[in-house]
């Protein structure tokens, strides 16, 4: 079951199409740079790359190892990217949702971007060696319940249709499992998880939505959240993080991927996404929306919890 291979044969053609398009837009001067993936030193692995010359377009690839959400390079990790001119960017469906969210939050402008969407059947889980074949067992948990294999609204998408088998939904199952617990059991579970946290803030660093220049949790006047990696501070940090991402996080799961302590961070985000879907029928998608679910209201919103 777990060894069931997932068809990634289109990735070669996708790579070719990306290279072609990148070459074209760079040479025609459409964009100043293209942010994409390139092969890295280790066999089969990939890493983000910024291509500014048409000649370098051949470096660009797409494979099951292209796990990163490149959106973050357009905001706080923008240093290597030219300041002026349109930027091309290679996006998977999940990455595109983040980009769309950032547009809604005035961090990016659509007209300044050239979106190269990738038809994606899934990428590898963070724990798997990069040259492993993509199977039901090696695929990243977020891809198991992906509803955005084919990004829409991009400037260019290679005409390939990814084959996507139905997989067991990891997060939904985990959420259901936790919801069935008693509060005390849930507390014990999260306490165990958060206890591991070393406050390296990799989750914050990699998150496209954590674009604040000065994080609330770093402030000391007042100190809202204890900064040392003690259980109390860890707990508070993760609650604040989940709350700040509620209604914004689109599920790229980068936080979870980069967490050195393997804390299931995306689980919190998915739980919040589920609640907001149930409460306000809001889901992160491909459409730019001016106001997220927590920036607006309806007079008839549910208030059954308020006496």
């Amino acid at each position: 079951m777990h060894d069931n291979p997932i068809d990634t044969s289109i990735y070669a053609a996708v790579t070719e199409a990306i290279q072609g398009e990148a070459r074209r837009i760079l040479s025609e001067g459409h964009v100043a740079a293209v942010v994409g993936y390139a092969a890295a030193r280790r066999k089969g692995s990939a890493q983000p790359v910024v291509v500014t010359r048409a000649d370098d377009a051949g470096k660009l690839i797409f494979s099951a190892a292209c796990v990163n959400n490149l959106a973050v390079y357009l905001t706080k990790a923008r240093k290597e990217i030219p300041k002026s001119g349109k930027i091309g960017i290679v996006v998977k469906g999940c990455d595109l949702k983040a980009l769309v969210g950032l547009m809604g939050e005035s961090q990016l402008k659509r007209e300044e971007l050239y979106l190269i969407g990738v038809p994606c059947a899934g990428v590898l889980a963070s724990t798997i060696q990069p040259d492993t074949a993509l199977t039901a067992g090696t695929i990243a948990p977020k891809c198991r319940e992906c509803d955005a294999h084919l990004p829409t609204g991009c400037d260019f998408v290679p005409a390939r249709q990814p084959v996507t088998p139905e997989l067991e939904k990891h997060y939904s199952a985990e959420i259901a499992r936790l919801e069935a617990m008693t509060p005390a059991e849930r507390w014990a579970y999260w306490k165990g998880q958060f206890k591991k946290c070393i406050k390296c803030y990799a989750c914050r660093q990699v998150c496209p939505f954590c674009f604040c220049e000065q994080c609330l949790c770093d402030r000391n006047k007042p100190q809202m959240v204890e900064t040392t990696p003690r259980p109390a501070g860890n707990f508070a940090w993760h609650i604040v993080r989940a709350m700040h991402l509620a209604g914004r996080c689109a599920g790229c799961a980068e936080c979870e991927r980069v967490c050195p302590m393997d804390i299931p961070l995306n689980l919190l985000n998915r739980k919040m996404a589920k609640e907001l879907k149930e409460l306000y029928d809001y889901e992160a998608g491909f459409e730019v929306r001016e106001k997220g679910p927590l920036a607006t209201y309806d007079e008839k919103d549910d208030q059954s919890f308020i006496k």
Partner: protein, 665 residues
């Protein structure tokens, strides 16, 4: 290091009875930063404030905490005192140890501990308080008056006479309100219309009053001195500027039999109509629901006969925006009906009185129309059912009022007097008739009021029976009234020809919706709440909005007129200044932290957040950040709670201040 002074008030015995104030002073005196702590009998009194000022000077205090009553009561008082002693007023905070402590707890030990903690929290908070400069805003010297009854008319005339422009908005086609419907008024029995219509004409002719009838408030934005009010002028279908008021259209209108609301549906009117002959403006309105032209597209007689060509079937509602500096709300009252109420309604009807289905059981306002010389019967008291003159008439007071069981527990204040008046009017008109009044108590405080009531009994021969009626029912063409006279302890049964119910005074329908637009508070009956029951009876808690008349609570005409003039005076006081100081509780953006996500802008209910470009010295755009317009900001702080990086802060309620309080727990 701060030098905080803490002043603990005994409030006579109100606080000290339950809270050991001396111990509170001793305990908080030990808190770090507290340089001075004392208790005093009445902090708000002149010597109390003197003590405070003296301590500020002598002890070189940097901050002040007054532990006393609710800040809603005396925060202004103490901040003013602090200011006069040379400190910024916003360095003074109050701890509420009366309403939230001594009055709601009995255990002295518990209350004292709680008081110490409450004061401790405020001490921590005040340490984080910052000097806030007062903000001044300009004043638009125009007033809006909502409601064209006697209250609105009086307020509008007074403000206009003082030299300011007034916008008067009335929902109905004519101003005049309920007072125009009355026949005579107590306690002098002078004709209501005789004293009312000249005032209505004054309004129409006043150069500084702009009158919008058949209009409603659509939206209110802004704040004291600077409101933007959107008025919806409903389509009248008659152009006011062209209409001469000749009345030919009304004569020729083929639809004639529409019950006239002004006559309590006893009289009839055409589809194009003025509600009553003395209407101001004397411009008809087309009732589109009943007009043949609007229902079928045919007819059009009124347009044909209108000489000046004032009839305009295509007219649409118009929205007009008026900038004003102050608002007087004078929306008046409505009468309770005994009809069956929808299930679940907090107010109930009177099944025992027939739920309004017995035709000759009427309410007081209907009786007014019957008694009015300009009414549907020309001033004759006649039964609605068969037009006969009632020889036995029963008046029942307190119908709906003082009736917890029906959902209204207040006294409607005016019924005792108008029922006495009704018995007199009846006696004057039906000499061989007998009036009976069932009453619980007679409430006649007012100049010449009790004398008036006694006259109805002693000279006009009304029979007053102390005791509420249990039930009414139709028996043949009579109405059987089952009551009791509790003075004698026997049941009383009267076979009456007509029964007049003194039904309760309620706020106008839609009073709650208007309050929400205005942002003013109202009680559970929808009466508007004054800022203070005794000391600020005509002001709303929301600055710049004033109350006049029965919208604030049941009132008779003299009280209404007094309150209207008082509200006008408040407006005139406001307009006497060119600049207003407003509380500096506004949001400010910390530009260094702002990343321009504009969540604040999305949630701001006032539209106070603007986008501001930050450029370097060369003029290159560095970033776009949020900017809060302090004149527009309402001070709710929703922006701060929403801001992910907390780069916008509400002065007076900063995170530092709040966290300091939580940490003091």
């Amino acid at each position: 290091m701060s030098r905080i002074g803490v002043f603990i008030c005994h409030c006579g015995e109100n606080i000290s009875r339950t809270v050991d104030v001396e111990r509170v002073a001793a305990e908080v005196g030990k808190l770090p930063g507290v340089a001075f702590a004392t208790d005093y009998k009445y902090m708000c009194s002149d010597p109390g404030q003197g003590l405070l000022k003296k301590a500020i000077r002598e002890e070189r205090l940097s901050h002040v905490v007054v532990a006393a009553c609710s800040p809603r009561m005396h925060e202004k008082t103490f901040r003013k005192a602090v200011e006069s002693a040379g400190l910024n007023p916003f360095l003074c905070e109050m701890a509420n140890i009366r309403e939230h402590c001594s009055w709601v707890h009995q255990d002295r030990k518990e209350a004292t501990v709680k008081a110490i903690e409450l004061v401790g929290m405020m001490v921590e908070r005040v340490k984080k308080n910052r000097v806030l400069p007062t903000i001044t805003v300009p004043v638009t010297k125009r007033a809006l008056v909502i409601g064209g009854g006697i209250a609105g008319i009086q307020a509008a005339l007074d403000i206009a006479d003082a030299g300011y422009e007034v916008i008067l908005v009335e929902r109905e086609p004519s101003i005049g309100g309920h007072m125009a419907q009355l026949s005579e008024t107590f306690p002098t029995l002078d004709c209501s219309q005789c004293i009312m219509t000249p005032k209505m004409v004054d309004v129409a002719n006043h150069p500084r009053i702009r009158l919008y009838t058949y209009a409603e408030i659509e939206r209110v934005e802004g704040y004291i001195g600077n409101f933007q009010v959107t008025v919806r002028r409903k389509a009248r279908s008659v152009i006011e500027e062209k209409c001469t008021g000749c009345g030919v259209c009304m004569e020729k209108c083929p639809v004639k039999k529409i019950p006239n609301k002004f006559d309590q549906n006893l009289g009839m009117r055409p589809a194009i109509y003025v509600p009553f002959p003395q209407a101001v403006p004397n411009t008809p309105v087309i009732d589109r629901e009943n007009c043949i032209k609007f229902k079928t597209g045919k007819c059009g007689v009124c347009r044909k006969v209108c000489g000046p060509g004032a009839v305009d079937y295509e007219q649409e509602d118009r929205l007009i925006v008026e900038p004003v500096g102050a608002i007087v709300v004078a929306t008046g009252f409505d009468l309770y009906s005994i009809e069956e109420k929808p299930k679940g309604s907090p107010i109930k009807g009177y099944g025992e009185f027939g739920h309004g289905r017995i035709p000759d059981v009427i309410d007081g306002m209907t009786f007014e129309r019957l008694a009015s010389a300009s009414g549907p019967t020309g001033g004759k008291i006649l039964r609605p059912s068969d037009g006969r003159e009632p020889k036995q008439i029963v008046f029942i007071q307190c119908v709906g009022s003082r009736a917890r069981e029906k959902g209204i527990s207040y006294c409607s204040k005016i019924c005792c007097m108008y029922t006495a008046k009704h018995t007199m009017l009846y006696h004057h008109k039906v000499h061989d008739g007998q009036a009976y009044v069932f009453f619980m108590d007679a409430r006649t405080p007012g100049k010449n009021y009790d004398e008036f009531w006694r006259r109805s009994i002693e000279e006009e021969e009304a029979v007053y029976i102390r005791g509420m009626v249990s039930r009414l029912y139709q028996k043949g063409d009579k109405i059987v009234v089952m009551g009791s006279d509790i003075a004698v302890g026997v049941q009383v049964e009267i076979e009456a020809d007509m029964v007049v119910l003194a039904t309760a005074v309620q706020p106008q329908k839609g009073a709650d919706a208007l309050a929400q637009k205005l942002g003013i508070s109202y009680d559970k009956y929808n009466f508007y709440s004054e800022a203070h029951a005794k000391l600020r009876p005509v002001e709303c808690a929301t600055a710049g909005i004033y109350l006049a008349g029965a919208c604030q609570g049941p009132k008779d005409i003299p009280d209404t007129v007094s309150q209207a003039s008082a509200a006008a005076a408040k407006v005139i006081i406001l307009f006497a200044r060119d600049q207003l100081e407003r509380e500096p509780i506004v949001a400010r953006v910390r530009e260094a932290g702002c990343v321009g996500c504009f969540y604040c802008k999305k949630v701001c209910p006032y539209g106070a957040v603007e986008e501001k470009e930050i450029r370097d010295r060369q003029g290159n755009l560095v970033k776009v950040v949020a900017y809060v317009n302090p004149g527009v900001c309402g001070g709710c702080g929703t922006c701060q709670a929403t801001c992910p990086s907390k780069s916008v802060e509400l002065d007076g309620y900063t995170d530092e201040q709040i966290v300091a309080m939580i940490e003091a727990l």
